[in-house]
Symmetry: C3
Subunit: 485 residues, 3 copies
């Protein structure tokens, strides 16, 4: 590793960020592969196929409104907004990396969701009669979820990697995600409706491990760009708010029809509201002069949504949701104040967006809350049928009891962390190869290497331009008169 290190230091001065061949090549090859694999494997399921009308009659379904589309499409669209606008704009806070934030987020997500449909399809939606994956609206939601894991990881390396590295990160990330998800949900039989473990814990540690492998000791050379400007902070609030508002849809998108979706939305709504207040409190309390810090408002206000993800569909109770949100607002904000600087200094983990505070820690908290809530479930609270429905105690698992389920939930957390850390280290190694066109240390957090930038001179208000012009004239004249002197 020391060898690679010194080799990289050697390269650093002559770093080539030209991705003119590698980026198009990867995009075209992978997209072509997707077309072929989709041609071989993916078909419509019975609810999106034109045979639906016959299927409906055969199954005696009384109305088209019973099609799963109408149960889930509004939530799907909200999740879709979170992935593209939410994650994208949340990362625009840097003064000169807005194009990269929103543009590469777009690229990762658009590629990732195709690969996720395949990977998750093989595990969950394979029709063994004809060997095809049958997709419907729920698969689209799950693909978006899967992509979320990679976008979280992007947050840790934001501004420090090339688009080609991001595509590699995504390819492996989706693959790992699908395996991890299958183990947690199907083999271990943990429940994780909002993905506290499956999405946030995994995505968080995956990104942190990669960032650790890609540690840049001289990153302070880019410190001039590692901050926000006034308007970039307002842009980031667009991302924050769309994530915050639609999180109830995120946590309820794939829960059970009826009370399951209903309850998950309510719990998430409450947890998030509570988080806002404690985030503001801690942010003000720990700054001199009691001023609020935009970094906390943009990020920590969302921690409650992460932490209530697993338990949102359970009978967490409204006050339980408030308590979860209360704690996460405090933990996440303190994380930004103390933990992120500590991790950068002592653990060599540079976490641009602070995903450890927003996703990794609250994700683990969410897993624990889920385990406790599951273990404490009783038939009197859920009702006999409700208990079976909520925890899916059917088939091979029909003899399980809530306390067992609690143990399985806890096991899920461990799997998510292991996959995140382990996968991140392996992928980080791959990304260290000096072939991906990543930027030099003094080029980080800058759109310039990968984007055609507009010439912003015209954006200076006319008044100032005129002033500049006059001033230049004055100076020139004064020089001129001096020469005459």
């Amino acid at each position: 590793m020391g060898c690679v290190q010194s080799f990289r230091e050697l390269c650093d001065r002559q770093k080539n960020t030209n991705v003119r061949l590698s980026l198009p090549a990867v995009c075209i090859v992978w997209q072509t592969a997707m077309i072929i694999l989709f041609g071989v494997f993916i078909r419509y399921n019975e609810e999106s196929d034109a045979h639906w009308i016959e299927h409906r009659k055969a199954k005696n379904i009384s109305s088209d409104i019973e099609n799963d589309f109408y149960f889930r499409y509004p939530s799907f669209q909200d999740v879709h907004v979170m992935i593209f606008v939410g994650f994208g704009f949340l990362m625009t806070f840097l003064k000169r990396y807005s194009f990269g934030a929103v543009g590469f987020n777009f690229l990762i997500a658009a590629f990732g969701l195709q690969w996720a449909l395949l990977m998750q399809g093989w595990f969950h939606s394979l029709d063994y009669t004809d060997g095809k994956i049958k997709i419907g609206i729920e698969n689209l939601i799950n693909a978006d979820f899967c992509v979320a894991g990679c976008l979280i990881a992007y947050g840790a390396v934001l501004g420090k990697v090339s688009p080609v590295q991001l595509l590699v990160l995504t390819l492996f990330g989706i693959t790992l995600f699908a395996v991890e998800e299958y183990i947690i949900l199907n083999l271990i039989h943990a429940r994780d409706a909002g993905g506290s473990m499956v999405i946030h814990t995994f995505g968080g540690y995956y990104g942190l491990a990669i960032s650790w492998m890609l540690y840049r000791p001289n990153l302070d050379q880019s410190s001039r760009l590692q901050g926000s400007v006034y308007h970039s902070d307002v842009f980031a609030m667009i991302g924050t708010l769309f994530l915050w508002m639609f999180w109830p849809s995120f946590n309820s998108a794939i829960t059970d029809h009826g009370d399951g979706q209903h309850r998950a939305a309510i719990n998430t709504y409450l947890a998030l509201a509570s988080t806002v207040l404690t985030t503001m409190a801690v942010s003000s309390l720990f700054q001199k002069h009691g001023k609020l810090d935009m970094v906390h408002i943009q990020n920590s206000t969302l921690a409650g949504g992460v932490a209530v993800g697993t338990a949102a569909e359970f009978m967490l109770m409204p006050y339980g949701s408030l308590i979860v949100g209360f704690c996460c607002g405090i933990v996440s904000t303190l994380g930004y104040i103390y933990l992120t600087p500590f991790m950068e200094k002592h653990l060599k983990i540079q976490d641009t967006c602070g995903i450890h505070n927003l996703h990794a820690m609250p994700g683990v908290i969410g897993g624990i809350v889920g385990a406790i809530t599951a273990a404490a479930a009783t038939e009197s609270v859920y009702g006999p049928e409700g208990l079976i429905n909520t925890f899916d105690f059917v088939g091979d698992f029909k003899d399980m009891v809530p306390t067992q389920q609690g143990g399985h939930q806890a096991a899920g957390i461990c799997v998510a962390i292991c996959f995140g850390v382990g996968g991140g280290i392996i992928v980080g190694c791959i990304l260290r190869l000096p072939i991906w066109g990543d930027p030099a240390d003094d080029n980080c957090f800058d759109d310039e290497p990968y984007w055609e930038l507009p010439d912003d001179e015209e954006s200076i208000p006319p008044v100032l331009q005129y002033n500049n012009h006059m001033r230049n004239k004055d100076v020139t004249e004064s020089n001129f008169s001096m020469e005459q002197n």
Copy 2:
């Protein structure tokens, strides 16, 4: 009152805007109180409880899709966007108060909705068998509505108060709202689906009365900041458009299933379209050179949605909606041109966002339109069952006739105005106490007192920075050569 005035003038020079103790204290205490009260009072209702599946079978409901969640969740999410992005970004128009606009809006709303669930729950959703409030999706919508009243009031005092004052404003505002709403909807039996009276009239006058109590005679010291810049006006259009687009959801969110929601959405869609044209017309007509004013486009285009709120669920007829929108565009824009300056000069009411033109006046117009439409209702237009359904002529009110209903509607307007003005004066008095950390006159409309601001120097385009650098050099050199002279 004169005494308080002079005392305040004395304080003004040494104003302390440090909220390091008060803001965290209020946030933590109130959030803790919420957790306790939610623990004691709030439970899931039968549609969000895990017993739903048994309830469904007992009530012979054929499908999960009949759960109220599927009737109202898409509208709820639209309303949620209006509250957080709509109101938040609409207020970002000031050049240096975008953090405060969107951030404090976030804080108020997140706190307010919790308190609203309790207050409205006690009045409307209390289950007398066990003394618990049972909540579902409709309660979340109503909580968002309730918060809207306080956010409207925030518009009047935008930039002139501290976050602690805003939390106090919200605590009392939600309380007053819940009482007023109970009187108007339950005791008086007025109908107000979109809240023209209950939300907009109340919220408008509540904010104006507070602003009157907090009158700042020397506010012109902040005049340099009381305007917009180009990009802040574009940010504000995000707020405008999300409010405008989702207003049909706002007015239809809690109306009757079926034709009620359908009709309310259509009426609101039409009224808003009509308002845009008359707003543009009046804005152009009253400016020299016929130029359009962004203030009008951002605000007055929404007046039609406010004014059609009460009558949206009635058989207002499509042309009726257009007429309401037509008038409100004119009235609201003229209000911005003539009334707002008049009120500031002669009535000592400083209304930062012009909520009198956007909410108070159109709200009263909406109440009147509702009263007329109700009084004019006939069985031939509504059908016998439709009439009973639309106006809820059941139970204690089963003998009411439309003309009576018109009178009740009119009474509702009066109650809303009284609660707004009266409540605002009382709360204004409380907010005048010199303990809340409000900004000095020359610190208004500025994020600086309450927010850590990024250092924006880096945002200057590199070209200009270079120019500046060279120019400084020139100047220095010229000075230097002169000294040599």
Copy 3:
């Protein structure tokens, strides 16, 4: 035509952009006309009328959830966001035309949707028993669709016309659209769920023909403003992403209940994802240094949604959607690189937003894809009932077969192009009259002629202002000392 040309050149120097009389007059007169026509013609349909409850019982509909409102309202709101935020913000990319982009988009759409309800209503929703147009949620969606055609056309002339010209463009555009749509959908019996032909091909060629008629040989006088700045490109990405995310709703909003809506959403989702990758690839490949160009990311990533519009409801198959998206990303991006400059130089078509690459070409491709998919349909793929349902082979068309349908689809493309080009030339002639207050060549792409602009001097960061101040002082002093010399 040469005569008009020289006349216009004569006028150009003393151009009057004051729309103080014309804009208000047109707005008020047309809005009044709308009120009268709505009063005469437009009523609620049976699903939005208060008689619904009786209608429901008569038709034996078991639940309110069967009201078409619940099938289509979420999609309607998504389409609504595309029209107002999507199209509006997509056009904010110019450095000094953001007010015009988002404001005039708002004006056109608000007027256009009213006129569209009437025009489309006469053709499609007229109740012959009483001569009234009966409207419901599907009419609102279609009105938004109809407006989209005119907003596409606005893209071609963005920054070069006055608001009055835009209202004229809209009045004629909506009228032509409704006739063209009736011919294609009802007379020719082509299917076009997402409007590849009806909306995008027509709108694209309509705008290009108008832009050709309004050719400005000296437009380079405004070249200083015909570009973006950093933050205006970020604003434009808001438009791009909301269009991209909600396009599945656009293409599925008015398709058949059940599998039709479900399948259209899936196909569009996939086509768009594929487009993003090929757009990025081509954008990087054709720029020196492999840098990505924001113009391509903002626009070409959407081409897949346009091109899959017609075939989205057919059994295009998931891999088919990916292929369509793959090709369109390439074609559209190459269009921006080679075709737009070619058209401006050699064909005298100045296309500000490049609508030829985003709407016209992909629209035609979409029409062709639709024709092929329809011609290739078989009963084994669709099922006997599915085939009839999907292609609506009922009534007068019950003997049609898929190959015939393919021919009809192809005929539809031709009609759309003819109406677009022909209509555009006629309307372009009208817009050339020197009475509409259009801007002079050196005033194009500038908000200044039609908007009150904020004085942006205050937006300069205080540090720089201070520097400027000190520098001025230095210069003055140096001048002063020189005078002393």
